[in-house]
Symmetry: C2
Subunit: 131 residues, 2 copies
DNA sequence: TTGGTCCTACGAAGGTCTTAGTATTAAATG
DNA sequence: CATTTAATACTAAGACCTTCGTAGGACCAA
């Protein structure tokens, strides 16, 4: 087993890049670079390196178009969100999602409207199950 | 401004240690080391180093008892949970807690009972506000 | 063909994180 | 008092992360 232990999670910069790819669907080094936050000043070669590494880690796939690589997410944002929440639940909460939601819901600066939205979400989900 | 930018979040190992301190309320190097997961094999000096660094970063405070330091969390688990969720919401979701809860709630392996618990939580919270 | 432009590949510097060994000091034991 | 034990402080190795410079190749314009 010579396999370099695959790291499951994106690093800070990788997440930054992946977020753009998720939004665009796919993109070249140039595309991603152009979409980064205004203040963000990153050399072209840095961006290229980051995407190359992300491909090594199998977070993205690439296809050559002319002389240029077009990168595409290898995993959906939804799936990554779930994976991340699950990990957080295990590491910082008690492993059940309930306590995580409780923490969210009990936060002072959570608007009443947001709470209602969440309840609506739940109601929908629960009646679905009844069917 | 020579201030070394304070890192807001615990690293992997720091979280591991902090979790024990949160559970125990406080503890020495030896205490924490003894509480770590069974398979976890860490040198005493490693644990001591980690706690010393955590104190530098102001995640814990210490008080000398005899010749030994007793470490105590400098921030509550609740507060850290909130901070972490907020950060995650901004980085991986759309910045509102609603979408995060939605992702949780829509996960297939969320039991009906858990859903009911969450709804109960919400109901309690919403009627509280009405008072 | 020669020079500029744009791409990829690679290497390296500087930072942080994790781990543990060594040195030193203080307490306990006989 | 000498020796063993247990704690802290420091240093350093190795890994990974972030960033960028340099080199090399392809393409295009004059």
């Amino acid at each position: 087993m010579r396999q370099k232990k695959k790291s499951e999670f994106l690093t800070e910069v990788e997440l930054e890049f992946m977020t753009e790819l998720w939004a665009m669907g796919q993109g070249t080094v140039r595309d991603v670079l152009d979409q980064l936050a205004p203040g963000r000043d990153l050399a072209y070669t840095s961006a290229a390196t980051i995407l190359r590494i992300m491909e090594q880690k199998e977070f993205v796939t690439s296809a050559k178009q002319g002389k240029t690589f077009v990168y595409k997410p290898a995993l959906a944002k939804d799936a990554y969100q779930s994976k991340t929440l699950n990990d957080l639940s295990n590491k910082l909460f008690d492993g059940t999602p309930v306590s995580m939601v409780a923490r969210l819901v009990n936060d002072k600066d959570m608007s009443e409207q947001a709470l209602e939205e969440i309840r609506a979400l739940l109601d929908r989900r629960l009646t679905e199950n009844d069917r």
